[in-house]
């Protein structure tokens, strides 16, 4: 045996001992616990161990492209970046033992955007970039983690997760399928002057339910469907009549890159069965309800239509089970929380409308036009399956006496609607925020007065009320009155800085449960011991913050994500911050829905409380960072309103 071998051998024993210990340490944390032993040993063998005293900078933006992959062996690291609203810096995230950084910069081959500081005495393992890249290419576990763990890549990863769900379940179930892929065959079209007989012959030969009428440049002018044919036959139209006199003009169209979900929503909203695909003003495909129908077991379009045409409230109540099933299968197939809240809102709206129509049929039309308003989460289009009634009625009246008279006629109807909605799973509101309450069945002037009083007299009750009523939306009836009311409200609020300040104080009441030293701050005692509330502690800070900023800046949207986007557009919040808030909100909402789904499956009552210890390490971490975003939004409010 040569001396060199001896030396190598001697070294190897020691390497094995200390490397083994470090490997064991890393195996407690993702993604290392999922990595091959050989990959992990290779990683550790190539690591350096470095110490950073409290407050010492580990990496900063001016260091240039990141050279190392850092794993915290012991201690805490804070990400600091310049404060968006004031001088100094703010902590944007915290990294603790077993966690690693800076993934986005490392993968993006750029400098970090955030200064990383040792929040306490900290040891880090440093892996040179070249070795990281090599492992990244070889280890699936590391790659998945690196891509998933990076906040800015979260969206892409969500897509990957959905794609994976599709892979296992078969592509026919995905609502994310591009319409381009769905509309495989060439669209059937004809010229405007084509006689009816010719057009129907074409449809018959091609086995399609529609023909698109295009001009010489293939621009769609109209669509003729079997439904139109039925009408033409009933009307006794001549078979040689030109098709453009019988077609539906300016057909609804989407870009071929839109998703199956977009088409399903459009069909549900517009009561149409065909969507043209148009690119560069040229017809390039048609997607029919039948194409979408094959996508899902429980069909959204079909379900919406069934709800819309239900003949009895009992039928509507029974259909709620189908809604739950649809949401369930969508969640299982990787639909996002935004898609799902959008869908639930849509189906709930249909149910509400149908209940109102059926009640009108049964009790008789009161002879006064009225608008059915919804508030709170329903007003923000953010409903989950677990939902209360928050509604009211708006009508037009010339004076107080007339208003009282109309109210008298509408109230029995409203009370019956409330009662029937309750049978359809819309739980009666404990606070009696329902249209059947005489205080919530008001003329437009009365509503405006009521809203003004909320703004002028900022008592705790009024502040609470404003957080419910100011998220309002018309679901049934004329929408104009509701919009006028909203315009007045925005004027009131934007001119009243005292009220804004009170709203800001209110928005800071619910603190996100992130502690300085531990992961989460959970309830200490009682039945809720060791749990935190995803809705009140996680979502409410975003909802309250977005409402305040939107009202203060004249933004009429009610949906939290739409409000955030509008605020970014107006330059009220920075695009980066807006994206981070949106992502965090989205994640917490998703976690909440998955929780509801689990509870429904195991026949437990709905609850928004979650025990962070029951989450896997990665989900805990993403949840913690999401809460930290809520904290950042609050601290920006505190600065803005000098609280």
């Amino acid at each position: 045996m040569s001396k060199a071998d001896d030396f190598a051998q001697a070294g190897k024993t020691a390497v094995l001992q200390n490397i083994h210990g470090t490997v064991e340490f890393l195996q407690k944390f993702p993604p290392f616990n999922q990595m091959d032993m050989a990959h992990l040993a290779y990683l550790v063998e190539n690591c350096q161990l470095r110490f950073y005293g409290e407050g010492e900078t580990i990496i900063k933006p001016t260091d240039g492209p990141v050279e190392h992959f850092f794993i915290v062996k012991q201690g805490r690291v804070h990400g600091e970046r310049p404060h968006s609203a004031r001088r100094g810096t703010e902590t944007t995230f915290e990294i603790t033992t077993g966690e690693c950084f800076p993934l986005a910069a490392l993968i993006g081959e750029r400098a970090t955007r955030t200064e990383h500081l040792a929040a306490e005495d900290t040891f880090c393992l440093l892996l040179p970039r070249a070795i990281f890249i090599k492992l990244f290419a070889q280890s699936n576990a590391l790659r998945d983690f690196a891509l998933r763990g990076v906040s800015s890549l979260l969206d892409q990863v969500n897509q990957q997760v959905q794609l994976r769900a599709v892979e296992t379940l078969g592509a026919q179930y995905s609502l994310d399928t591009r319409l381009r892929d769905l509309a495989m065959r060439q669209p059937i079209s004809c010229a405007p002057g084509t006689p009816l007989r010719e057009a129907v012959k074409l449809m018959h030969e091609q086995h399609v339910g529609s023909v698109v009428i295009v001009d010489a440049g293939r621009k769609p002018l109209g669509i003729f469907t079997l439904r139109d044919l039925r009408r033409a036959v009933a009307d006794g139209s001549a078979m040689d009549q030109p098709i453009d006199s019988l077609m539906t003009q300016s057909p609804f169209h989407l870009a071929p890159d839109a998703s199956a979900f977009d088409a399903a929503i459009a069909m549900t909203e517009r009561h149409i069965a065909h969507v043209c695909l148009v690119e560069n003003e040229q017809l390039c495909g048609v997607v029919s309800e039948r194409d979408l129908f094959s996508l899902q077991r429980v069909d959204l379009v079909h379900l919406a239509r069934t709800i819309r045409h239900a003949g009895r409230v009992e039928t509507l109540a029974a259909l709620r089970g189908d809604v739950r099933q649809l949401v369930d299968s969508m969640l299982a197939h990787g639909a996002s929380s935004t898609q799902i809240t959008q869908l639930i809102t849509l189906l709930n709206d249909h149910t509400v409308c149908r209940v109102i129509e059926l009640t009108l049929e049964d009790l008789g039309d009161p002879g006064v036009p009225f608008t059915w308003l919804v508030f709170g989460s329903e007003g923000r289009s953010e409903q989950t399956l677990h939902t209360d009634q928050d509604n009211g009625i708006l009508f037009e009246a010339a004076n107080a006496a007339e208003a009282a008279a109309i109210r008298g006629r509408l109230l029995p109807l409203a009370q019956e609607i409330n009662r029937r909605l309750a049978t359809c799973d819309f739980t009666l509101c404990k606070g009696n925020i329902m249209a059947g309450n005489p205080e919530l069945c008001l003329s437009r002037q009365e509503w405006a007065q009521r809203f003004n009083s909320f703004v002028q007299q900022a008592t705790p009750e009024n502040l609470l009320a404003s957080s419910i009523y100011f998220d309002l939306r018309a679901v049934w009836g004329e929408t104009q009155g509701c919009e006028q009311l909203r315009i007045g409200l925005l004027q009131q609020v934007s001119g009243n800085s005292l009220f804004q300040r009170m709203l800001a104080e209110n928005a800071l009441r619910q603190r996100p449960p992130v502690g300085m030293f531990r992961d989460f701050v959970v309830a200490r005692k009682g039945a809720e011991k060791d749990t935190l509330d995803l809705k009140v502690q996680g979502l409410t800070p975003f909802v309250d913050g977005a409402r305040l900023l939107a009202l203060a800046h004249g933004i009429g949207a009610c949906n939290t994500l739409e409000r955030l986007r509008a605020l970014v557009q107006q330059g009220v919040i920075e695009a980066l911050d807006g994206a981070a808030y949106e992502e965090a909100y989205h994640y917490i909402q998703q976690a909440r829905m998955q929780q509801h789904q689990l509870q429904a499956r195991s026949a437990q009552p709905y609850s928004n409380r979650v025990d962070p210890d029951n989450l896997n390490h990665l989900d805990r971490r993403i949840l913690r960072e999401s809460f930290r975003q809520a904290q950042r939004l609050q601290s920006s409010l505190a600065t803005r309103y000098q609280l």
């Binding site: 024993t13 001992q17 190539n46 005495d121 393992l125």
Partner: protein, 234 residues
């Protein structure tokens, strides 16, 4: 096939090759003026047959390198020395190296040559360095006929110097390890002890820099003046 060259008297028996390697060993230089963060150190831990510095023998050597302020996990040294007739003794219970493992170990001259080649001219660090220094020096003399002249720095002495606020009751590697919340992978295993001593050294170097003691000569000076003070107070 190796040719043996016999020396008279108590000098050890070494092969020509081994003598050549001994002569190649690096000369030690004077204390380097560069900042602590830019130097190479070898952090050492010995497991021995006992605590008697005249009679007991080195059983294993564990060492870790601090280079440019970082511990390189790919650059570690550990070696168990072959000791004929070694009996299980009280310290077997501490270091946990079974007599069978020692019988299997490296021939001492080979092991010590390999170690000194690994050390090069770097200064050495250890916890209670005096013990390691004397044990190593005696082993080198006996097995290689080599006189150890490397600078030794004692982490047990540097720690209270740089952490004056730490409790005076802090004792031993375990005490300081707990004080800084360090985790030892396997205590009383030479290389694991060397690693935790090296981690301790990294913390202390960071403190030294904060206190403006950022080179070996400066550190040496502080240690000397502390020794004088303590001698005075006694």
């Amino acid at each position: 096939m190796s040719t043996f060259t016999w020396f008279s008297g108590r000098s050890p028996a070494l092969t020509e090759q081994q003598i050549e390697r001994r002569q190649q060993l690096a000369e030690t230089s004077t204390l380097d003026e560069r900042p602590l963060q830019q130097q190479r150190f070898v952090v050492l831990d010995l497991e021995t047959t006992g605590l008697n510095m005249r009679r007991d023998q080195v059983l294993s050597i564990g060492a870790v390198v601090i280079d440019n302020g970082a511990i390189d996990l790919g650059q570690l040294f550990e070696c168990t020395l072959q000791r004929d007739g070694h009996q299980a003794s009280a310290s077997t219970l501490i270091h946990g190296i079974a007599p069978s493992e020692i019988a299997k170990g490296e021939e001492p001259a080979e092991a010590l040559l390999a170690f000194m080649e690994f050390v090069g001219d770097s200064p050495l660090l250890a916890f209670h360095a005096e013990f390691d220094q004397r044990m190593l020096a005696r082993a080198l003399k006996q097995s290689l006929g080599y006189r150890l002249q490397h600078g030794f720095f004692d982490v047990a002495e540097i720690a209270p110097l740089l952490c004056p606020k730490a409790s005076p009751n802090l004792h031993g590697l375990d005490g300081w390890t707990q004080h800084f919340g360090l985790q030892v992978l396997q205590r009383h295993h030479a290389s694991a002890d060397a690693l935790v001593t090296a981690e301790l050294a990294l913390i202390l170097f960071s403190k030294a820099r904060q206190q403006g003691i950022d080179s070996l000569p400066a550190l040496q000076q502080q240690l000397n003046s502390r020794r004088r003070q303590r001698a005075h107070s006694i």
